[in-house]
Symmetry: C2
Subunit: 433 residues, 2 copies
């Protein structure tokens, strides 16, 4: 079961209101290719490349895990401010594969750089020589399995041949599908906005929880804009806005070795130079970027393994955002809260438990809790209007809002998660073979 998400759409762009999937179109400077490298025995696309024929500025955030995959190591070693390609494979995480896994990426990057350079010579007026260290990698799949270096290398000619310079929504969808593992739905989002008086676009795709060989929930998110923005501005924008978007979702509290979110700017728009993220001309862009990141994040949570309900935990009026976040995640990660919601049980006692264990000093007599708009706790006591039948009815919704008002300050944090169902256990306990 996938949760229908059309009302997550936050874009003001009318084009994007045409149903659940937003219509991503051509973005100047971005080329896409998506093929099968036979990693799933030819049954689906599993190798996706974003090719920036004129290069792109970029910025990434990576997993905070102490054990990181070989492609994350590769990416961290790149010292270039400009990049020419992002290659993503599904089915194999290239994690815990040691030197051979890293060497595999090097071989692939060498070969891809050669073939892209040849394509530059054929297609461009002023051809560039593309170097291996101008290629970024995203990997998702099983940990510890031999990285399929040869299969991917052999697929490079197909990948090059598949490059589309002009994108339709079909190609964006093909890319979003090609990076999926056990995701049930592809995840795309877009916004259009202005920097100064120049129109720019922000497009994004992501994948979330689950793998076809179940292993872990790797999050990959890739955002593309035609705006002219330096890598340093991109890095600051991404770091700032990731906190309340990708870092606000939790499916099961586990963290992958491979998590990666990257933003690319093709510099095709003629907006004026932006020197600081506090530039007022950047305000609208930042809001739109936040929307794209949040939209993708929510889609990942809603498509969390086994999800039957999408849960938003709003913790408001806290002394600090950090404390609000602790409480929000204590609730969002509690198996007891998440199973109660799966059972449509208005079991508010478990919310109290989760608030209590968050290790934040609260003022119990000021605590207010509502489920949606229904008052549960007022001034630290069960509301006199509490009507379990009314609340039980609310729990039947597909989207559940848990609102915790601490009434001790002015800071807020919202976390996004899904319920914990038998399906989650099924997906994750089925033997891999």
């Amino acid at each position: 079961m996938a949760i229908y998400l059309s009302n997550f759409l936050s874009s003001k762009n009318k084009k994007s209101k045409m149903g659940d999937f937003q219509n991503l179109e051509h973005l100047d400077g971005v080329s896409i290719s998506a093929i099968s490298a036979n990693l799933y025995d030819g049954k689906r696309d599993d190798l996706v490349m974003f090719y920036f024929r004129d290069g792109a500025n970029y910025a990434s955030v990576y997993t905070q895990s102490k054990i990181i995959s070989e492609n994350i190591k590769w990416n961290l070693n790149l010292k270039n401010k400009k990049i020419n390609a992002l290659m993503i494979n599904a089915r194999n995480a290239n994690a815990f594969t040691g030197k051979k896994g890293y060497q595999g990426l090097k071989e692939i990057a060498d070969e891809l750089a050669i073939q892209l350079s040849i394509k530059q010579k054929n297609d461009e007026e002023k051809p560039m020589t593309i170097k291996p260290n101008q290629i970024l990698f995203g990997c998702t799949g099983t940990i510890g399995e031999k990285y399929p270096t040869e299969k991917i290398k052999k697929s490079i000619p197909d990948l090059i041949e598949g490059i589309k310079y002009t994108q339709s929504k079909y190609m964006w969808m093909k890319a979003a599908l090609g990076i999926m593992t056990t995701d049930l739905v592809p995840k795309l989002a877009m916004e259009e906005c202005k920097i100064g008086n120049v129109d720019v676009r922000i497009y994004g795709i992501a994948k979330g929880s689950g793998m076809i060989f179940p292993n872990m929930a790797t999050t990959l998110g890739y955002v593309f804009t035609d705006a002219s923005l330096s890598s340093s501005i991109l890095q600051k924008l991404l770091r700032k806005n990731i906190q309340t978007t990708f870092n606000a979702i939790s499916c099961d509290g586990d963290t992958s070795t491979n998590d990666m979110v990257t933003i690319f700017a093709t510099n095709k728009s003629k907006n004026s130079m932006i020197k600081t993220i506090n530039d007022s001309k950047l305000e609208e862009f930042e809001k739109s970027l936040h929307n794209v990141l949040l939209n993708l994040s929510k889609r990942i949570a809603a498509d969390g393994e086994g999800a039957s309900k999408f849960i938003t935990v709003n913790v408001n009026n806290s002394k600090t955002q950090e404390e609000a976040k602790k409480i929000a995640f204590s609730i969002a990660n509690s198996p007891l809260v998440k199973t109660a919601i799966a059972g449509e049980d208005p079991n508010w006692g478990r919310i109290i438990m989760a608030i209590g264990k968050a290790n934040v000093n609260i003022s119990l007599s000021k605590l207010e809790i509502t489920f949606g708009k229904i008052k549960i706790i007022e001034k630290g006591e069960l509301s006199i209007d509490y009507d379990e039948i009314e609340v039980a009815e609310y729990m039947k919704n597909e989207k559940i809002d848990l609102n915790i008002n601490l009434n001790v300050g002015k800071k807020n944090f919202s976390a996004y998660t899904m319920d914990l169902t038998k399906k989650y256990i099924e997906i994750n306990s089925d033997y891999r073979s």
Copy 2:
């Protein structure tokens, strides 16, 4: 399904090797009464009292939650070093019940103190007047429901009448059953040892995860000894030994408002005075106490909601115990690890993931992992002897040992948990009514 635990028995006492349940017998100075106060409509015992006719020294550790139940507040307010009774009720947690919940305990303590004082006059040569503040409370059950003060008060005469001055294993079992909620099996443990050349006994009962109205996993543990030990010695012993026993188990990472472990000493044994826990005469006693606490803890984990397998996570040769603990719990609390084990899938990649996310710096090239005695990872790489069929066979066992050797220091920590099954979801998502 309950996991058969006979080989958790750690006692050297031959009597205790007679099957899964240990034979707790009479312990001088401890009286037990267990009755039905009709909290479950008369279907089972739900009110248990341990009565110390000559008083007992005691020490407690309580939940670290910031929201604590009214009985924990009551207990924390007691300033006496000696106690005369511990009353435990199931079915209602007396948490989030406000002033009325606290007032209920006061009324019960007042009445119980009066009736116990009358019993003292009838039965004792040198009768004591028992005061309300010499009564300790344990509560477990639903959060936020009105505390059944009247039902319990009305049951006090039955409770007094039921007092048995001499205990058989039947009475200990009745007490262990009376404090259960959704536990599948009662939990008892015992050790016999010496302080100096004097024989002493340590008996304990506990309850674990689950409630008949599912709400949360409240842990209650009560340990009794006839040794002569001051409350201050008891407190130090309990604080020290709780870290590697009750604080080493995790069923779902959630923490109750009501968790409580207490040790009582009736001072009936004529052992010599102990002034410090470093006294060498206390060594054997401390080991035995640790065994009782560990035995009870393991029984709680093994009977965790929905458990089909008991999991021990040993993290060895860490720089600090704190780091070993972080990694052990990162593994023990990972839903992805626990579902893989439920599925008997030797998915070691998820162990790697859980080690990585623990936020401890490790030396990957020194990492060793074995499942039981089977080598999985050696020197940070998949063992050349790795045979998935052999490991898959091992995963069929009811007890799974995950051994993580960091090889960077000399500190160890073991955590105990169970697998995550569909049954867990069933128990916790079924609507309460």
